[in-house]
Assembly symmetry: C2
Homo-oligomer: 879 residues x 2
Amino acid sequence: MTKYVYMFSEGNASMRNLLGGKGANLAEMTGLGLPVPRGFTITTEACTRYYEDNETIAQEIEAEIFETLAKAEDLIGKKFGDPNDPYLVSVRSGSRASMPGMMDTILNLGLNDTVVEGLAKLTGNPRFAYDSYRRFIAMFGDVVMEVEKSLFEEELDAVKEERGAKLDTDLDADAMKEVVKRYKALYARVKGEDFPQDPREQLMEAVKAVFRSWNNERAIVYRRMNDIPGSWGTAVNVQEMVYGNMGNTSGTGVAFTRNPSTGENKLYGEFLMNAQGEDVVAGIRTPQTIDQLKEVMPEVYEQFIQIAETLEKHYRDMQDMEFTIERGKLFMLQTRNGKRTAAAALKVAVDLVEEGMISKEEALLKIDPKQLDALLHPTFVPAALKAAKSIAKGLPASPGAATGRVYFDAESATVASERGEKVILVRVETSPEDIQGMNVSQGILTGRGGMTSHAAVVARGMGKCCVSGCSELSIREKDGYFTTEDGTRFNEGDWISLDGTTGLIYAGAVETQDASLSGDFDTIMQWSDETRTLKIRTNADTVSDAAMAVKLGAEGIGLCRTEHMFFEADRIFAFRQMIVAKTVEARRAALAKLLPMQKEDFIGLFETMQGFPVTIRFLDPPLHEFLPHEDAEINKLAAELKISSDDLKTLINDLHELNPMMGHRGCRLAVTYPEIAEMQTRAVIEAAIEVNKKGNNVIPEIMIPLICDVQELKFVKNIVVKTAEQILAENNVKMEYHVGTMIEIPRAALTADEIAREADFFSFGTNDLTQMTYGLSRDDAGKILDAYYQNKIFESDPTARLDLIGVGKLMKIASQDGRSVKPDLKLGICGEHGGDPSSIAYCHELGFNYVSCSPFRVPIARLAAAQAAIADSENLGQK
Amino acid sequence: MTKYVYMFSEGNASMRNLLGGKGANLAEMTGLGLPVPRGFTITTEACTRYYEDNETIAQEIEAEIFETLAKAEDLIGKKFGDPNDPYLVSVRSGSRASMPGMMDTILNLGLNDTVVEGLAKLTGNPRFAYDSYRRFIAMFGDVVMEVEKSLFEEELDAVKEERGAKLDTDLDADAMKEVVKRYKALYARVKGEDFPQDPREQLMEAVKAVFRSWNNERAIVYRRMNDIPGSWGTAVNVQEMVYGNMGNTSGTGVAFTRNPSTGENKLYGEFLMNAQGEDVVAGIRTPQTIDQLKEVMPEVYEQFIQIAETLEKHYRDMQDMEFTIERGKLFMLQTRNGKRTAAAALKVAVDLVEEGMISKEEALLKIDPKQLDALLHPTFVPAALKAAKSIAKGLPASPGAATGRVYFDAESATVASERGEKVILVRVETSPEDIQGMNVSQGILTGRGGMTSHAAVVARGMGKCCVSGCSELSIREKDGYFTTEDGTRFNEGDWISLDGTTGLIYAGAVETQDASLSGDFDTIMQWSDETRTLKIRTNADTVSDAAMAVKLGAEGIGLCRTEHMFFEADRIFAFRQMIVAKTVEARRAALAKLLPMQKEDFIGLFETMQGFPVTIRFLDPPLHEFLPHEDAEINKLAAELKISSDDLKTLINDLHELNPMMGHRGCRLAVTYPEIAEMQTRAVIEAAIEVNKKGNNVIPEIMIPLICDVQELKFVKNIVVKTAEQILAENNVKMEYHVGTMIEIPRAALTADEIAREADFFSFGTNDLTQMTYGLSRDDAGKILDAYYQNKIFESDPTARLDLIGVGKLMKIASQDGRSVKPDLKLGICGEHGGDPSSIAYCHELGFNYVSCSPFRVPIARLAAAQAAIADSENLGQK
């Protein structure tokens, strides 16, 4: 039979999945002989069972709870509900992953009208007893029975006013009795029944409330943001109450074994005498620093120092501890690995290795790769941020902080930037036409589109701050303003500030500070590089992106999107001439103009990448993305192109597609217009020849997008090889080059054995692959995702994170089938997921050669790849 | 070493893949001791090798050809190029599948300036010799060396004019010599070299020409239309010439052992004395019927009758034979299973069984299921068709013949139909709004869209003639006319006729005749039903479709698309009210109006289906498909809906999606608007209850579309079950019902093990599954397919036929994984492919329970399912 309830003495730290983080650590501390208030934990499995049983607690579990309660009573020598010496408890949630403040807590449980009297007698402190009771009634009423908290506050305020009291502490025992009376009356009025006097009933209701709180709105949102599965459930910890508010020899506090902001190896924390935890939080009295405890209670301080050291050594990590002193006696209420800033994470990890406490591998595993992001981008100056006024919140699409004047189209943004202004580009949504405007902006703000919308993807690629999908704003691009929900209007030229890490938008200019990387960062990166087997490449289309990526440790370009180059002002015209060309000759003439420019681009990239491999993807997007869609712009362009507006409109109309993502794009462009592929091949090969003349050894990799059938690849590869061989012959040069393909269409993955015969490498384009595997367009998903979250169908945006089950299965099929015919087939990933630690672990598992991600994610990928390699060798060890 | 050349005496009929159909049958007849002109066959593998070797014939193959030629010379006792008794040959193509007229033939090869003189002497007929030579020069020039045929004809005409000859036969030997002279001069002028005199060179060039002709334009198109792989290649038959034009005891003819039009068991054919094959084709002289040969040459006739009987018995099928009589001696030039009309196919198959020649299974295998289509639809009266003028050609999207007046929008079509006119609906492309107009039309013609466009799919569903994607026409819907390529204009109200089987469009009204089904049809269907294991269901949304399908043998509805019901005039308004509803209450109010209508629909379907299972798919298309997009219509609708035009426009704009096929549709609608699913469940369950009250036993099957994750199915199923149970409780009834899902998104197939836990059945929606697996939208594919065909990347539209390699792999994964967790999981297919014989065979192989197809394809599916079962048991037998 499943065991659902564990005494603290029955558990340990390894039972985190079952007991939750708090419960496991309370058990571990109990095992270490530390002073922990006694109690027990109801497991996460009981929570799961609660939901399976339609939100009821099974008879057998209830019985087990009360059996364990009886054991605890024996151990403590007190009885639940005994007025003479009552056993009072706290009931707290505690899940596998830390979710601070997301779920519910009930203190002082076990009090009722008779027990409170006993407590008053026992402590000789009726005010304390009734204060505890009224706090319990309010907490139970609010958390368990859903009686509005503010109603209790109103009653309290009324009593304070009647008695002329300013603070709660001004109320005496008698007043507290009055508050209790009114609270009970309020409870009975709202609920239609009396406040429960049976402590056992109180307990069961409280346990249920904690289970319920697992699925409250804020817990669900927190889980979605932190990728915590809803299936985990929470444990419930039932623990003897200890009181920090029993007079001047009592107190409560929080401390870290090291500084969580800087990582400095020095105890860090604060405490308040004669107070309970919630008083510290309320912030009415200013807490003292932990050092001052030495003077207040030297013995307790010494004991605490000892315990802190013991815990850090025991857990081999910086600890975050909660403690209470009850009438001079120290109790440990919690310990856990402390949350820390990115900088602190690096310093603590490096220091622990230097102190000989952990190995390098353990150090690497201690750092959340995603945290590194914060170190790589500008942030707001904390003081300035404190003063700033948040006006709206969108999605944190690309991290960093940015401040500038708002502009509503790419052109005015560019003009403003040219006259030296800092610019924030604000758009309903962005399209490839906006690239130039995005490039000159400090940050990008959009009204529509999710974490994987065009704006978000491009901004991340550029390492630029972006807040996307801010539906709170009403953006009127054409009229040059936006309004917030409260109607405040921001016009073109007004200052705003964006926090791409939180999604918050602020009025005015908030001061930012640049990113700075410490020596610890280099140390961790060096250790990562020694450990990992995966190569890390970058997705880069420009020399500046490529240079940044190399600086951040990239070992090649995994994806150079050639189309981005065509949007630049001096090229788009020739490109458009190419599109409107009615004959192959006219098309070739336009392409001939683009050739030298594209060749220059590649020369720049090859030189910047210093001999690292460079994978160049041929033209991918549908051609209509390069043409305007507004009448005025069409007329203007038609005049420039010297064709009639009607002709141009007909062409644009002909290019219109019902589902452009599954239409005329990718290699399909090379099939219909082979001359484009010829030009691009020429640009790549000629650039490589030129760079190699200077003594380099560039081996260009040409990548054909959107292959769904081996015959397509054969056809396009044939164009590439024919053109390349011709150029090599013209130049009398021998040079290695590779031709490979994206795997981004399900059928390509399913027929990988055929495709591998023609491909030198596979690069998984998991953005498109995910969309097609799900049949879900990321541009349109926004409309349904809310309902999917609310109904717990999806826990997070399926296009934002690599789906290991479905998409992952296709990747596995493709990797295995591909390598089955070509064992040395090079495998990589170049979708957005290439920079995501969970994807990186999966790619490592599948035996990939490299992952490729945007420049600013390269350090993350380096660390994540190292972690994957460590996990892998640990698994091997276990086998 | 591979053997590339076979003497006829070395082969037999089973070697068709290697020797081609003609070669294998010539070998078989040789083996039977029949009088076949001697020769040899160069294999299809030599053709494949020719293409692998960049269109050259390998040394070893050339050597083998001449070794075999030498053997043939020994056998015949004549020598290639010997002027005294020359060995002259024909060189003919012959592939695995019959491709009549698609590839090239060269006769009289071996003639040159000296051999022609020898032939004149030998035959004592110089005119014959020079006529043969000039024919050879023209044929070789045209077919092998690409000298325009018309240039030769001009020379011939010139000589005829100079000599005052009307017919070729008016030219004497001398004139023929002159023609030869001029032909040779022409050849030298155009090619810049003399006509080759070396018979061996002639032979090798001719062989190459035949190989090349495998990939000529018309052969490629023919293969695409008939699903013949380009990889098969053609064989080449080199055979001694025999002459039907050596005087009045010579002749040539063609005959069938039975009547290929009716199937009647009576020799059928014709012949011409003193003629070569091409003369029969030219039609200058009228051939005699085969019976008349009895009078002309009784002994030859008797011998031929014997041979025909022998061949039919040997091949156990109706034969199509070619023969030549050379100076009283009969030669068999070809035999093959005769092509026949659908009616004849049925009669021959049934007769052969009755005659005891073949088994029922063999009879079923003899009929091409696709041929049945022709029996089920109206056709043009042949005489009327002969007189009709074809004005354009589109894609043969849905078979049958139709005639009517053209209308350019659904509304005028409906109005015209209501006043009794026969209507052809002509649109650039159709959308769901046009359903009503399509329904009242005789046929549908579209300017855009392929074989799987909306128009094509819906028309096939309705069993209505449709020609789609006719890009030759310039259709101006708003101006009410279209023009053909030559500028002819057809206005609203003008008569045209459509042939949906050929794609041809005719001016004016061409008389049609109704379909008629024979007793043989019933016999074949009955045998099919006894043999097959797959159930055949139909896709039907209306009572009339369902009734038709039952008549044609359907055993249930596999797909009832509920959205089609909403487009009807009396419903669309309530449906639109539902869409514009801003609150759940308003939406429910609109749905409440739809409920009784939808319930009536289901009652009708349940009653019509007489207890057969009915699978009802819940609302699938994106909501914007139900709203107008033109300003005028929007304004009108806004007024009707009593909302502002601006509001309606905003809503339509909000509903706009970049890739609607991967957007807010299918079960995603049920997640965002659960009340729709509730209403549809209510309609289904209440209808079933009502019908069952009358003593029926309907077990409705509710099908949830577009599932990509098991959680979605769980959520929607929960709504269905909750609603259904409530209704059953309300009515105090117990009733079985099933809830299953479409598998139409790749991820659903990949996670089928999870999904199967929640599903009573899987129905593969291979239309969408194919599009997403290929990443190719069928609505947009038209723009690229031409280039894909030209470059031999695709041989046919990948969305038109089930792709067994890629999509098939997903189906296999899903079937196996689904059944692994639920062994009795019901599997079916309801995409368009459900009526395609190759898909049906695959579904049988995967162990499906049923296939579902449009009503008119039900007989095809019944036969195809029987064939699959027979093939399966044969395979079993072989194992």
